[in-house]
Amino acid sequence: MAGAAVLFLVVAAAYASFYIAPEERTMRVLQRIFYFHAASAWAGMTAFSICFVANLLYVWRRQEKWDALGVSCAEVGLAFTTVVLITGPIWAKPAWGIYWTWDARLTSTFVLWLLYISYLLLRTLIEEPDRRALLSALFGIFAFIDVPIVFGAIRWWRTQHPAPVIMGGPDSGLEPTMRAVFFFSVLALHALMVFLIVERYQLEKMRADFEIVRREAEAQ
Protein backbone atom coordinates (compact mmCIF):
# COMPACT_ATOMS: atom_id res chain seq x y z
CA MET A 1 0.00 0.00 0.00
CA ALA A 2 2.77 2.44 0.99
CA GLY A 3 4.73 1.37 -2.09
CA ALA A 4 1.73 2.06 -4.35
CA ALA A 5 1.24 5.52 -2.78
CA VAL A 6 4.93 6.37 -3.30
CA LEU A 7 4.79 5.11 -6.89
CA PHE A 8 1.71 7.28 -7.53
CA LEU A 9 3.49 10.34 -6.09
CA VAL A 10 6.68 9.91 -8.14
CA VAL A 11 4.74 9.26 -11.37
CA ALA A 12 2.60 12.35 -10.65
CA ALA A 13 5.77 14.40 -9.99
CA ALA A 14 7.31 13.24 -13.29
CA TYR A 15 4.04 14.10 -15.10
CA ALA A 16 4.01 17.58 -13.50
CA SER A 17 7.66 18.14 -14.45
CA PHE A 18 6.93 17.39 -18.12
CA TYR A 19 3.38 18.66 -18.62
CA ILE A 20 2.51 21.22 -15.94
CA ALA A 21 5.75 23.15 -15.37
CA PRO A 22 6.20 25.86 -18.04
CA GLU A 23 9.18 25.68 -20.38
CA GLU A 24 12.16 27.74 -19.28
CA ARG A 25 13.22 30.39 -21.87
CA THR A 26 16.98 29.74 -22.09
CA MET A 27 17.39 25.97 -21.70
CA ARG A 28 13.92 25.00 -22.96
CA VAL A 29 13.09 21.30 -22.40
CA LEU A 30 16.52 20.57 -20.88
CA GLN A 31 15.62 22.55 -17.74
CA ARG A 32 13.04 19.85 -16.86
CA ILE A 33 15.93 17.74 -15.49
CA PHE A 34 16.03 20.32 -12.66
CA TYR A 35 12.86 18.92 -10.97
CA PHE A 36 14.42 15.45 -10.70
CA HIS A 37 18.07 16.46 -10.16
CA ALA A 38 17.56 19.09 -7.44
CA ALA A 39 14.75 17.19 -5.67
CA SER A 40 16.98 14.07 -5.53
CA ALA A 41 19.76 16.21 -4.06
CA TRP A 42 17.42 17.54 -1.34
CA ALA A 43 16.20 14.02 -0.50
CA GLY A 44 19.79 12.74 -0.33
CA MET A 45 20.78 15.58 2.03
CA THR A 46 17.78 14.77 4.25
CA ALA A 47 18.80 11.09 4.36
CA PHE A 48 22.37 12.04 5.36
CA SER A 49 20.98 14.43 8.00
CA ILE A 50 18.89 11.61 9.54
CA CYS A 51 22.01 9.41 9.35
CA PHE A 52 23.94 12.09 11.26
CA VAL A 53 21.30 12.27 14.01
CA ALA A 54 21.23 8.44 14.23
CA ASN A 55 25.06 8.39 14.47
CA LEU A 56 25.01 10.94 17.31
CA LEU A 57 22.28 8.98 19.11
CA TYR A 58 24.26 5.76 18.75
CA VAL A 59 27.39 7.34 20.26
CA TRP A 60 25.29 8.72 23.11
CA ARG A 61 22.91 5.81 23.82
CA ARG A 62 24.73 2.77 22.29
CA GLN A 63 21.43 1.28 21.10
CA GLU A 64 21.45 -1.06 18.11
CA LYS A 65 18.42 0.62 16.50
CA TRP A 66 20.39 3.85 15.92
CA ASP A 67 23.15 1.94 14.17
CA ALA A 68 20.53 0.22 11.99
CA LEU A 69 18.92 3.57 11.14
CA GLY A 70 22.32 5.14 10.43
CA VAL A 71 23.41 2.53 7.89
CA SER A 72 19.93 2.48 6.28
CA CYS A 73 19.99 6.26 5.77
CA ALA A 74 23.60 6.20 4.52
CA GLU A 75 22.75 3.65 1.80
CA VAL A 76 19.59 5.48 0.74
CA GLY A 77 21.38 8.86 0.77
CA LEU A 78 24.08 7.33 -1.37
CA ALA A 79 21.49 6.10 -3.90
CA PHE A 80 20.04 9.62 -4.16
CA THR A 81 23.49 11.22 -4.45
CA THR A 82 24.36 8.73 -7.20
CA VAL A 83 21.29 9.93 -9.10
CA VAL A 84 22.43 13.55 -8.59
CA LEU A 85 25.92 12.73 -9.89
CA ILE A 86 24.46 11.00 -12.98
CA THR A 87 21.72 13.48 -13.87
CA GLY A 88 23.98 16.49 -13.31
CA PRO A 89 26.51 15.64 -16.05
CA ILE A 90 23.67 14.62 -18.43
CA TRP A 91 22.27 18.15 -17.94
CA ALA A 92 25.72 19.79 -17.99
CA LYS A 93 26.86 18.46 -21.38
CA PRO A 94 24.24 20.26 -23.53
CA ALA A 95 24.11 23.28 -21.17
CA TRP A 96 27.82 23.90 -20.53
CA GLY A 97 29.44 21.84 -23.31
CA ILE A 98 31.19 19.61 -20.74
CA TYR A 99 30.07 16.71 -18.58
CA TRP A 100 32.13 17.65 -15.55
CA THR A 101 34.25 20.38 -14.05
CA TRP A 102 35.91 20.52 -10.65
CA ASP A 103 33.86 23.43 -9.34
CA ALA A 104 32.99 23.81 -5.64
CA ARG A 105 29.47 22.29 -5.77
CA LEU A 106 30.36 19.35 -8.03
CA THR A 107 33.56 18.53 -6.16
CA SER A 108 31.99 18.75 -2.69
CA THR A 109 29.11 16.50 -3.87
CA PHE A 110 31.57 13.97 -5.28
CA VAL A 111 33.53 14.05 -2.00
CA LEU A 112 30.23 13.49 -0.13
CA TRP A 113 29.56 10.42 -2.29
CA LEU A 114 33.08 9.09 -1.60
CA LEU A 115 32.71 9.72 2.15
CA TYR A 116 29.52 7.66 2.41
CA ILE A 117 30.99 4.90 0.19
CA SER A 118 33.84 4.84 2.75
CA TYR A 119 31.29 4.70 5.60
CA LEU A 120 29.76 1.56 4.06
CA LEU A 121 33.17 0.03 3.25
CA LEU A 122 34.34 0.64 6.81
CA ARG A 123 31.40 -1.42 8.07
CA THR A 124 32.48 -4.41 5.97
CA LEU A 125 35.99 -4.34 7.49
CA ILE A 126 35.00 -4.66 11.19
CA GLU A 127 33.65 -8.01 12.42
CA GLU A 128 32.70 -7.18 15.99
CA PRO A 129 29.18 -5.57 15.93
CA ASP A 130 29.59 -3.02 18.77
CA ARG A 131 32.98 -1.84 17.53
CA ARG A 132 31.65 -1.65 13.94
CA ALA A 133 28.64 0.41 15.07
CA LEU A 134 30.72 2.83 17.15
CA LEU A 135 33.48 3.41 14.59
CA SER A 136 31.05 3.83 11.72
CA ALA A 137 28.93 6.25 13.82
CA LEU A 138 32.03 8.34 14.53
CA PHE A 139 32.99 8.25 10.86
CA GLY A 140 29.41 9.17 9.89
CA ILE A 141 29.57 12.23 12.16
CA PHE A 142 32.81 13.26 10.45
CA ALA A 143 31.38 12.60 6.95
CA PHE A 144 28.39 14.86 7.65
CA ILE A 145 30.72 17.90 7.82
CA ASP A 146 30.58 17.90 4.01
CA VAL A 147 26.76 18.30 3.88
CA PRO A 148 26.73 22.02 4.87
CA ILE A 149 29.71 22.54 2.54
CA VAL A 150 27.66 21.11 -0.37
CA PHE A 151 24.75 23.37 0.63
CA GLY A 152 26.96 26.45 0.93
CA ALA A 153 29.20 25.81 -2.09
CA ILE A 154 26.94 27.71 -4.55
CA ARG A 155 26.33 30.48 -2.02
CA TRP A 156 29.92 31.09 -0.83
CA TRP A 157 31.73 30.64 -4.17
CA ARG A 158 30.63 31.64 -7.69
CA THR A 159 31.86 28.97 -10.08
CA GLN A 160 30.34 26.86 -12.87
CA HIS A 161 27.25 25.48 -11.11
CA PRO A 162 24.21 27.83 -11.28
CA ALA A 163 23.37 29.96 -8.24
CA PRO A 164 20.56 28.68 -5.99
CA VAL A 165 16.97 29.41 -7.03
CA ILE A 166 15.59 28.41 -3.60
CA MET A 167 16.94 30.04 -0.42
CA GLY A 168 19.38 31.97 -2.58
CA GLY A 169 18.72 35.52 -1.41
CA PRO A 170 16.67 38.41 -2.85
CA ASP A 171 17.85 37.92 -6.47
CA SER A 172 16.87 34.25 -6.67
CA GLY A 173 13.50 32.62 -7.18
CA LEU A 174 11.30 30.51 -9.43
CA GLU A 175 8.19 31.23 -11.47
CA PRO A 176 5.19 30.22 -9.22
CA THR A 177 4.14 27.13 -11.25
CA MET A 178 7.76 25.98 -11.51
CA ARG A 179 8.11 26.47 -7.77
CA ALA A 180 4.96 24.44 -7.05
CA VAL A 181 6.11 21.61 -9.34
CA PHE A 182 9.56 21.65 -7.75
CA PHE A 183 8.18 21.39 -4.21
CA PHE A 184 5.82 18.62 -5.32
CA SER A 185 8.85 16.74 -6.74
CA VAL A 186 10.68 17.32 -3.44
CA LEU A 187 7.69 15.85 -1.59
CA ALA A 188 7.51 12.81 -3.93
CA LEU A 189 11.23 12.06 -3.68
CA HIS A 190 11.16 12.48 0.10
CA ALA A 191 8.29 9.95 0.21
CA LEU A 192 10.44 7.59 -1.87
CA MET A 193 13.39 8.22 0.46
CA VAL A 194 11.32 7.36 3.56
CA PHE A 195 9.94 4.24 1.86
CA LEU A 196 13.46 3.04 0.94
CA ILE A 197 14.81 3.79 4.45
CA VAL A 198 11.97 1.77 6.03
CA GLU A 199 12.65 -1.17 3.67
CA ARG A 200 16.39 -1.02 4.34
CA TYR A 201 15.84 -0.65 8.11
CA GLN A 202 13.72 -3.82 8.13
CA LEU A 203 16.60 -5.67 6.47
CA GLU A 204 18.99 -4.43 9.17
CA LYS A 205 16.61 -5.52 11.94
CA MET A 206 16.35 -8.92 10.29
CA ARG A 207 20.16 -9.13 10.34
CA ALA A 208 20.02 -8.66 14.12
CA ASP A 209 17.48 -11.53 14.37
CA PHE A 210 19.76 -13.63 12.19
CA GLU A 211 22.68 -13.03 14.58
CA ILE A 212 20.54 -14.24 17.53
CA VAL A 213 19.49 -17.43 15.71
CA ARG A 214 23.07 -18.00 14.52
CA ARG A 215 24.45 -17.69 18.07
CA GLU A 216 21.80 -20.16 19.28
CA ALA A 217 22.84 -22.59 16.54
CA GLU A 218 26.51 -22.21 17.45
CA ALA A 219 25.75 -22.75 21.15
CA GLN A 220 24.09 -26.11 20.42
Partner: protein, 47 residues
Amino acid sequence: MKNLDSVFAAYAIGWAVFFVFYLSVAKRTSSLREEIERLKSSLNRGK
Protein backbone atom coordinates in the same frame (compact mmCIF):
# COMPACT_ATOMS: atom_id res chain seq x y z
CA MET B 1 12.64 18.95 -29.53
CA LYS B 2 16.33 19.65 -28.93
CA ASN B 3 17.86 17.88 -25.91
CA LEU B 4 14.78 15.74 -25.23
CA ASP B 5 17.08 12.69 -25.40
CA SER B 6 19.16 14.12 -22.51
CA VAL B 7 16.03 14.71 -20.42
CA PHE B 8 14.80 11.20 -21.16
CA ALA B 9 18.24 9.71 -20.32
CA ALA B 10 18.44 11.61 -17.01
CA TYR B 11 15.00 10.42 -15.86
CA ALA B 12 15.44 6.84 -17.16
CA ILE B 13 18.89 6.32 -15.59
CA GLY B 14 17.81 8.01 -12.36
CA TRP B 15 14.75 5.79 -11.97
CA ALA B 16 16.84 2.75 -12.90
CA VAL B 17 19.24 3.55 -9.99
CA PHE B 18 16.32 3.70 -7.52
CA PHE B 19 14.78 0.53 -8.95
CA VAL B 20 18.07 -1.41 -8.78
CA PHE B 21 18.60 -0.21 -5.20
CA TYR B 22 15.10 -1.33 -4.21
CA LEU B 23 15.65 -4.72 -5.91
CA SER B 24 18.97 -5.18 -4.10
CA VAL B 25 17.30 -4.50 -0.71
CA ALA B 26 14.43 -6.89 -1.57
CA LYS B 27 16.87 -9.60 -2.72
CA ARG B 28 19.03 -9.27 0.41
CA THR B 29 15.91 -9.40 2.60
CA SER B 30 14.58 -12.50 0.91
CA SER B 31 17.89 -14.41 1.07
CA LEU B 32 18.33 -13.46 4.74
CA ARG B 33 14.78 -14.61 5.50
CA GLU B 34 15.53 -17.97 3.85
CA GLU B 35 18.75 -18.26 5.85
CA ILE B 36 16.92 -17.54 9.13
CA GLU B 37 14.27 -20.16 8.29
CA ARG B 38 16.99 -22.68 7.43
CA LEU B 39 18.81 -22.03 10.72
CA LYS B 40 15.59 -22.19 12.72
CA SER B 41 14.62 -25.54 11.19
CA SER B 42 18.11 -26.97 11.82
CA LEU B 43 17.83 -25.71 15.43
CA ASN B 44 14.44 -27.40 15.82
CA ARG B 45 15.82 -30.66 14.41
CA GLY B 46 18.67 -30.49 16.95
CA LYS B 47 16.27 -30.12 19.95
